[in-house]
Amino acid sequence: MGELKLMKGNEAIAEAAIRAGVDAYFGYPITPQSEVIEYLMAEKPYETTGMVVLQAESEVAAINMVYGAAGTGKKAMTSSSSPGISLKQEGISYMAGAELPCVIVNVVRGGPGLGTIQPSQADYFQAVKGGGHGDYHMIVLAPASVQEMADFVTKGFDLAFKYRTPVMILSDGLIGQMMEKVIMPEHTPRWTDEEIIEKWPWATTGKPGSRERNIITSLDLDSGRQEQHNIHLQKKYKEIHENEIEFEEFMCDDADYLFVAYGSSARIAQKAIKLGREKGIKAGLLRPITLYPFPAEAIHRLAKQVKGILSLELSAGQMVEDIRLSVGCDIKVEHFGRMGGIIHSPAEALQALEDKIIGG
């Protein structure tokens, strides 16, 4: 049995990391996610589980510390918020290229630039389309509750090591800062050094006489081999698409209209749907849990049932592009969302459905 706690989303990430047997966290303060490193420093897991916690000199250094640790088969993670995640893109691209597993948490704030410190979902493109340079993707998980903030740490590392890929938990300032009940998982021991050496034969743990040296690199100056490497990566992304799509449906069975929303917007959409049903508007919600891979087939299926789709995002409309690519039929697909750190209310969301989809 897990342990019931009342926590902020950011604290839940930190506590879950300790319990998940994470080996190392490298971070740098930035609002609205600083509670992650503050919680870890206060808990001192280096004295209990042996987890390393280090405040780096920059987000760039933090992600590269993750690279180093991940290259030795350790469970390493970092967290930041939008401007800091932009700085980490170099490291993320290198890790995707070198096929290193890690978990990166983005507690998104309004942008562009330094933007605001309030919640936003405007980093969707950056997270799901690549973000850094080169042909790569990372798996992107979108928690909609403090419980999922905790659960996705373990889930993220499972996926990261299964596919040798960076995994991003794409949260936002609302989920990061709000407090909810959360059932914390039991403690999982960290892998021993011997287990790591046995489990991950690619890891740079020191070269015994019995094997060739291991090299962690994203470089290959031979363009033929580099193309083969890219083909290998694309094959991996296809496998991820085939196996790892996750989503949740809410009141979709009889829905005439559909919200598609993730994270905090999904919570707002649920309330909007209840308000709508009081007025006789039958709307449902499809909540992508994985944003990459995107639940395109589920949207395609529901698009045949409903009269229109409203993408509800705390942005100018980013995921709406992927929804439009998914529907495959001639129904109305529109976007509604507040920007710059303003959170839309359920009433605003319902009004947008009425104006843009039902009446539009």
Binding site: G68, A69, T205, I215
Partner: protein, 263 residues
């Protein structure tokens, strides 16, 4: 020399030296005359002699030595430009009993990676940094580096480095020596047999410190030539290095056992 005479000479009794198995058989990608090959070799010889190669993880930089992992026969990671000390931090913190070193050039360590260098040194990460300073960006074709000398020509300072416009060469080695987290700092060269022996002793000492003290960073600069980038013959480049680089970057120990010995 006739073939039968050669075969008389090449035999076990006459063997006085052999390549360390910690250097692979891959053909070095460095220009003939460059000091990198020697710096690689003595680093690997030290790891062999100390018997720690099975527990060593090295970090290759971006620059001419980006392919160091092709030549060094130990587990290696290749870092983004300037980030090697951050990778080394991540590795060493997770595997404190392993031997961890970075091998970096001047552009990597003293320009784009300045923050990572300074802060790894300041935290006293228990690693060895081997810093090859040849005053130029060799791999990208001879651009001005943070350690390019005043007046020195490069493809991005074609009329010579004007310090009023481009700033002064950065003595980052003296800079890191000031940091309490750094145990030892030394500056060496590998262009003569005598210097090679001294440099190897210095590298050995740096790794011994890592093994013995479990804390503190050990920093070895090797002032080297770049005959291609400097547009000189190898012989001329070494002479030029002695006459121009060494006065600006004087050889010798700078910090020993946490004490600055040579300002």
């Amino acid at each position: 020399m006739k073939e039968e005479v050669l075969s008389d000479i090449i035999n076990v009794e006459n063997l006085v030296y052999k390549k360390t198995p910690l250097m692979t058989d891959n053909i070095l990608s460095y220009c003939p005359g460059c000091g990198h090959g020697t710096a690689h070799r003595i680093t690997m010889e030290v790891l062999e002699e100390l018997g720690v190669w099975k527990d060593t993880i090295g970090i290759a930089p971006v620059g001419c030595s980006v392919l160091a992992y092709e030549f060094m026969n130990v587990d290696m990671q290749q870092a983004a430009h300037g980030r090697a000390p951050a990778l080394a931090t991540g590795i060493k913190r997770c595997w404190p009993h392993k031997v961890v070193f970075t091998y970096q050039g001047d552009g990597d360590l003293a320009a784009i990676g300045t923050a990572e260098t300074i802060h790894a040194c300041n935290r006293g990460e228990n690693i060895v940094i081997i810093f090859v300073n040849n005053g130029i960006y060799g791999m990208t074709g001879g651009q001005m580096a943070p350690t390019t000398l005043p007046g020195m020509k490069s493809s991005t300072s074609p009329y010579g480095r004007d310090v009023h416009i481009m700033g002064n060469p950065l003595k980052i080695t003296e800079l890191v020596a000031e940091l309490p987290g750094v145990r030892s700092v030394t500056r060496q060269a590998v262009h003569t047999p005598g210097n090679v022996r001294k440099a190897k002793r210095a590298i050995r000492k740096a790794f011994e410190n890592q093994l013995k003290y479990k804390e503190g960073l050990n920093f070895v600069e090797i002032v080297s030539n770049c005959n291609s980038g400097w547009k000189m013959t190898p012989v001329h480049s070494n002479k030029w290095m002695e006459e121009n680089m060494f006065p600006y970057f004087p050889l010798g120990d700078i910090k020993v056992d946490g004490e600055i010995v040579n300002k």
